[in-house]
């Protein structure tokens, strides 16, 4: 067990490293990033964009005193360029403005064939481009010391942007999980004890519906329901007008009021799955020999069901609990978007659109971590509940 745990935990860092690497590569190789969009805006100066790039670690400024040594004289498009000792651009023996030569200097390779790329901005600043592989390892180094970088869009640390949103998503998912588990076990037991009864058919129907109805559609229906019945707020997470004046309890009630519908929508799918599983297990266990023995020795129906059958039937569901932990961050994705729940989903979609790369990287990392840990917990729970299973 311990070796199993250790091995799984040890395999985690390389797995996350590979995932991050591919995500990083994907973001970089498709061409165009957050800054190229900025560059297209005529109101934003090239120097400003380059300084943003420098602070994001995409380029490294070349200091004025080092320029002369590094470049010497270089020829681009038939013109000879060099730097003087003060780091000013020199063309044809006289200091010159880089603005006139932007077609050459915007991005060039020097020495030709070396792969090192430089940009000399309109105001004469010199930047060296960082290759994406090197950029990736710089990112990994930062992540290792707990720095997820700074979001381009929000101009704030990724950690602060994600933390808030993640806690909102987790609130929603955990309440949904509570609804799903709280209802599915009693309903599953109930219909499992009476197979092919009316209640069994109704539960079976609800389960089929819950597994087939797309969450987008259900969320939209819930929004319409909220609007026409007036019983629930139409989307959002809190009362925008009165929130600040509310007492603690008022806030709690308001939050629960806003949570009710989205959590039910998210929970229905889980409810359907667990209920079917619970029912199947219950039916199977009730036909086992030890249950027959228990009945034969005259135990009450109640004791047989709750003490003998249920305790054994519930074991396999523990695995599902692990899997539902794995889906905590991703299970409510589309519901959040539809019902305006300010969770991780909106941020990720916006970040993908805006090419806010540190944010996308962090979101993928966190989601993957959650999934892998959830699967691990599922395995451990299973081994803990069923001593016959040996993890190796």
């Amino acid at each position: 067990m311990l070796t199993f745990l250790l091995r799984r935990l040890l395999s985690l860092p390389p797995l996350l490293l590979v995932i991050s690497f591919f995500t990083f590569a994907l973001l970089h190789l498709s061409g165009g990033d957050y800054f190229t969009r900025l560059e297209e805006d005529p109101k934003v100066s090239q120097d400003y964009v380059m300084s943003l790039r420098a602070s994001a670690g995409r380029v490294i400024p070349v200091k004025a005193e080092k320029r002369e040594d590094r470049f010497g004289t270089f020829t681009l498009g038939g013109t000879d360029y060099s730097f003087d000792a003060a780091g000013t651009l020199v063309v044809g023996g006289a200091p010159a403005s880089a603005v006139e030569f932007q077609q050459d200097l915007k991005r060039f390779e020097w020495p030709v064939g070396s792969g090192d790329q430089y940009t000399i901005t309109e105001r004469g600043e010199v930047y060296r481009w960082v290759g994406w592989v090197r950029g990736f390892f710089a990112w990994v180094g930062n992540v290792c010391v707990g720095d997820l970088g700074e979001s381009f869009q929000y101009k704030a640390s990724v950690r602060s942007v994600i933390f808030d949103r993640m806690s909102n998503t987790l609130t929603l998912s955990l309440i949904a999980l509570l609804i799903a588990w709280g209802l599915s076990i009693p309903l599953g037991v109930w219909s499992g004890v009476r197979p092919n009864s009316m209640i069994d058919y109704i539960c079976g129907g609800v389960a089929y519906l819950g597994l087939s109805i797309p969450s987008v559609f259900l969320a939209l229906l819930a929004m319409l329901f909220a609007y026409y019945s007036g019983w629930f707020p139409v989307g959002g997470m809190r009362d925008l007008v009165k929130w600040d004046e509310m007492t603690f309890w008022g806030k709690t009630v308001d939050r629960l009021h806003h949570l009710a519908l989205p959590a039910s929508v998210v929970g229905l799918r889980g409810l359907a799955g667990y209920m079917r599983q619970m029912r199947g297990q219950m039916v199977e266990t009730l036909s086992a020999d030890y249950v027959r023995t228990a009945r034969a020795k005259g135990l009450s129906n109640r004791t047989v069901i709750y003490k003998h059958a249920l305790r054994n039937a519930i074991n396999p569901l523990l695995t599902l609990l692990g899997f539902s932990i794995a889906g905590l961050l991703s299970g409510s994705f589309l519901v959040e978007v539809v019902m305006n729940w300010p969770g991780l989903a909106r941020v990720v979609v916006d970040a993908v659109f805006a090419r806010d790369e540190p944010l996308v990287m962090a979101a993928v990392l966190v989601a993957a971590l959650m999934l892998v840990m959830g699967n691990l917990i599922a395995d451990i729970l299973l081994a803990w509940a069923d001593p016959r299973i040996r993890l190796e």
Binding site: L27, F217, L220, L221, R276, G327, S330, N340, A367
Partner: protein, 434 residues
């Protein structure tokens, strides 16, 4: 060589599977729903009264004509509506201007000939004396809704993914509008969107994309999954090791995140000359993204099956006879995973359909004016739009129908492919699966 009449040829395994499937009522319902859905989307051009991109801005935001016709939101409405203006108010929030399909003639008698009235803009003064415009029906002109009308230009009436298109001028139904008509006349059975495009037509054409994404995507990832999973299960060794690690990486990222990041990144791809991707290229890209995301789980299961099948005597025998390895995999191992593969494919098509819906709904997939079910639901993202025009969620119902039908069929196929498991379950007291 003549066999006695009593000794009929015994049905093959596929025939048996088919017979068992037909005995499953739920599976047959699923099959019928799917056949209907796929055929109406193949014949979308013929069944829909308009083209998916044909819009009339004067007829925007119409309510479904099956419900009553054009709506005007409260702010567009005069506060005092004179009864002779033929404006009926059914709901408090909305006012329903007549503009639907009518079954009553000028005298108010019922006729079997449905007709629409052209909509004209009427000018009147509201209670403050301000000049206001409102759409209303011109009751003096009746235009019949007819079966089999011809459009001015030929259009595709049948299309199988753009293959084998058949062109013609026929529409199943529509309104003939005289060229000198004052105002506009349309038949919008499901209403129209902000650009005045018929929602029913867009829904039918959207089905072509949303439904085919599932089939093509599953075909690609099944072949990938079977090839790699089969080889990996059979060979083992370093091939298996590398392959398993790749699968692990893909499976470690939540599917939706992966779809959105990959889809979002690929959206940024342009042609070398900077022009954006065409709609068919975007379609292909979506299929690729979905196939890439979902092939891993399939191949992992196939690998497991390959591992167990290769221990069977007939595989050992084939190897002893010196059959080349690839031939063993292709001829002996893969065919034994076919029934499983078909069940898995059927049960996983909903994920592809929902994946396309998610991508297009978030704006990363099919782009306007092209229509897909996810793309159509984008209109519902705006809450004010959703509550004023709740029928924009109609595509959601079709998605639901398709997903449910595939689940029905898949469950039925699984039971038919493995009858022993069903009998086991029955003996244990339940007929429910799992």
């Amino acid at each position: 060589m003549s066999a006695p009449a009593s000794l009929k040829k015994s049905p093959g395994p596929w025939h048996m599977l088919w017979i068992r499937l037909l005995h499953n009522r739920v599976a047959v319902v699923g099959l019928v729903i799917l056949v209907i859905l796929y055929s109406i989307s193949c014949f979308a051009g013929f069944l829909s009264p308009y083209e998916y991109d044909a819009g009339d801005r004067d007829a925007s935001r119409a309510a479904p004509m099956v419900l009553g016709g054009y709506t005007a939101s409260e702010r567009e409405m005069p506060s005092k509506v004179r009864p002779e203006q033929t404006v009926t108010i059914l709901e408090r929030q909305w006012t329903w201007l007549e503009g639907g399909v009518h079954f009553h003639d000028q005298e108010g008698d019922f006729t079997l000939r449905p007709h629409v009235h052209p909509l004209v803009e009427i000018e009147f003064r509201d209670e403050y004396g301000e000049r206001t415009y409102m759409r209303a029906e011109d009751r003096d002109i009746s235009l019949p809704v007819k079966f089999f009308v011809q459009s001015e230009t030929p259009h595709e009436v049948f299309s199988l993914l753009g293959v084998l298109p058949i062109e013609s001028r026929w529409h199943l139904f529509g309104v003939d509008t005289p060229p000198d008509l004052d105002g506009t006349a349309h038949v919008f059975l499901f209403g129209s969107d902000a650009q005045g495009r018929d929602l029913l037509s867009r829904l039918l054409f959207g089905g072509q994309i949303s439904l085919s994404v599932g089939l093509i995507g599953v075909l690609i990832s099944m072949s990938l999954g079977m090839l790699f999973g089969g080889l990996s299960g059979y060979f083992g060794g370093w091939f298996d090791f590398v392959f398993q690690r790749i699968v692990e990486v893909i499976l470690a990222v939540p599917g939706l995140y992966l779809i959105i990041v990959v889809g979002g990144v690929l959206r940024g791809i342009e042609h070398a000359d900077g022009s954006p991707l065409s709609s068919s290229e975007i379609y292909l890209m979506i299929v690729m993204v979905l196939a890439f995301v979902y092939w891993a789980s399939i191949s992992r299961v196939i690998r497991g099956m390959g591992l167990s099948i290769k221990e069977n005597e007939y595989v050992v025998a084939a190897r002893a006879c010196g059959v080349p390895t690839l031939q063993i995999v292709v001829r002996h191992i893969l065919p034994n995973t076919f029934s499983f593969a078909i069940v898995t494919a059927t049960l996983s098509i909903p994920y592809y359909i929902l994946g396309e819906v998610a991508l297009s709904f978030l704006g990363l997939g099919i782009q306007d004016p092209e229509a897909s079910w996810g793309n159509l639901l984008r209109d519902a993202q705006e809450t004010s739009y959703l509550v004023e025009q709740p029928w924009v969620i109609a595509p959601g119902f079709f998605i639901f129908l398709a997903v449910m039908a595939f689940n029905f069929l898949g469950d039925g196929l699984r039971d038919a492919a493995d009858p022993k498991a069903v009998i086991d379950r029955r003996q244990k007291g339940g007929d429910e699966d799992e």
